[in-house]
């Protein structure tokens, strides 16, 4: 892992108002996640399908501490007060951008509808910048580029007197758990 790439990414997260935490391995990451969610006092989490999350056994680990993972279902969409939990398919170090590829069990919605989004990011998925990510994926994973959402920072709208209001159609708070996998 390129340490300077990681440092650049973490600095970019701070610039765009995203908090982060580093974990040395998946076990430490799981513990860090559970403790972060417990501190928030949230039991109901809307998330990607557990199989699609980059940490294994999360569902049972969460059940052990009384937390529940929910899928987002049309017609039952009131997850505003919940926390959204997803993985990220890539991260761009120079801008602090996170990439989310829509697919079965991997909706964009857990990262849009709740006011608070927690993201799991394996370190190996970090790219230097937009150009390197497009360059790498356009040749190897064009289907994924075509369903990718790139998110840089929090949802912000400044239509009213150019005052920055966070959390309009996306989260007003984001936390990224970066871990060695």
């Amino acid at each position: 892992m390129n340490a300077s790439l990681l440092q650049t990414l973490l600095a970019s997260f701070e610039t765009v108002g995203v908090s982060w935490e580093l974990a040395e391995n998946p076990i430490a990451a799981r513990l860090a996640l559970l403790s972060y969610l417990s501190e928030l006092g949230r039991k109901d989490i809307v998330a990607w399908d557990p199989e699609a999350l980059p940490l294994s056994d999360l569902k049972s680990a969460m059940a052990d501490v009384g937390m529940r993972l929910h899928a987002i279902q049309r017609g039952h969409l009131e997850p505003e007060g919940m926390v959204g939990l997803t993985g990220a398919d890539a991260a761009l170090a120079d801008s602090g951008t996170l990439v989310f590829v829509q697919g079965a069990g991997r909706s964009w919605l857990p990262g849009l509808l709740p006011l608070h989004h927690v993201v799991l990011l394996p370190v190996r998925r970090i790219f230097p910048d937009l150009r390197s990510w497009y360059g790498a994926w356009h040749t190897t994973r064009p289907q994924d580029v075509s369903r990718a959402l790139l998110v840089t920072g929090l949802s912000v709208n400044d239509d009213i007197e150019l005052h920055a209001h966070h959390g309009l159609f996306g989260p007003g708070r984001m936390h990224v758990l970066v871990f060695e996998a």
């Binding site: 801008s95 497009y134 075509s146 790139l150």
Partner: protein, 417 residues
Amino acid sequence: MTLADPQTRFMFHRMGSLAAASREKAWAATPDADALKARAIQARDRVLQDLPGHLARLEQAVRAQGITVVRANNAQEANRRIVSRLRELHAADALRNHHPLLDEIRVDEAARINNIRLTPLLLGDFLARLTDTHSGHPVWPIGHLTVERISEALRQHWRVPETYDPDRLASLVRMRLRRMLLRADVAVMGVNFAVVEDGLFVFLDNDGHNPSLLSLARHVILVLSIDQMVADLEGLQALMRVFALSAWGRPLPAYIAHLQQAAPPGVDGPQTLYLIIVDNRRSEIIAQGFGQALRCIHCGACHTTCPVYQQIGGEGYAHSPYTGPIGTVINPLLLKPELGAQQTFLCDAAGLCASACPLDIDFHGLRQAFRRRRAGQTRAGEDQRFIALWRYLIHAPRLFRPFWRRVTRHPNRSQPR
């Protein structure tokens, strides 16, 4: 509320200076600024110099993805297509995103006449409609409104308690918009850029209204203006960065959503996509040698430097969504000749727009070329007298408004073709 109202004029100036400050700061922090602008210009010119070729390739790529593609020569045809598709989908209600092309073709009006409620999801557009006023700025539709004015409108329409807290006001509107979003079935969405080599559609915003619509609406009608294509991802990157820097003063938009085809079963996203490619005189503009005007990506940077726009606001531009310096070069080409010609005079030659435009549009040269072409069609001296009067009036908003009403009284004059 008029521009003679000092508070509204103050708000236009405030919007201009805040936007210019954040834009300048962001560009100053961009190490490859000049190279980036050059790449963006190259990307725009590459498409504009061979519009038919790019269009044919895009159509082929998009059809191969199973998307229905239709072309519309003008605004009426585009609206007819949109309304008939909405009817096919039995949509009495639909949502739309923020996009200048949708304003240009006046799709809201077309939907309303056909008893379809088309609601803009961007907070600023929604409040612009509620308050029946628009700043004319492509990025901040209500940048000229104070919190007091917004609060008053919400109190009148929704009977909510008065508040001057912008966060509280945004939350009040957000609750309504969100409720509509969660019920969204059909969306009409202007496309920011279409990437020709991949048949890929790209949507940019900072609040997430585009990806939310793309996730929740089951049917999406895509509306693309023929000039908003980009050949490849290389050009796309340059244009997205330039747009974010000049429009919002940030290195990248908060949300960049990519879409290529309808969602497969079990995946969120639209089940059907229907693409309308709109010309609305753009081919003619290029053929007449004014193609450089179409480099515009509607970032609004030129507006915030323009002393005339800050004096007269969006009202002086013949009800066109294109206002400010770019309005003075696009409107003469888009509007009916007698109305468009007046637009070239909405300038006091400050020249600040040219340095603000990241795509290096030669506003002055384009206006001169248009006037030269028109000179042959008008009586000698007519334009010069008009320029003198115009220059006087744009600095006298109290006189400007009645004057403008008078010259635009003809019922057909304010209609874009």
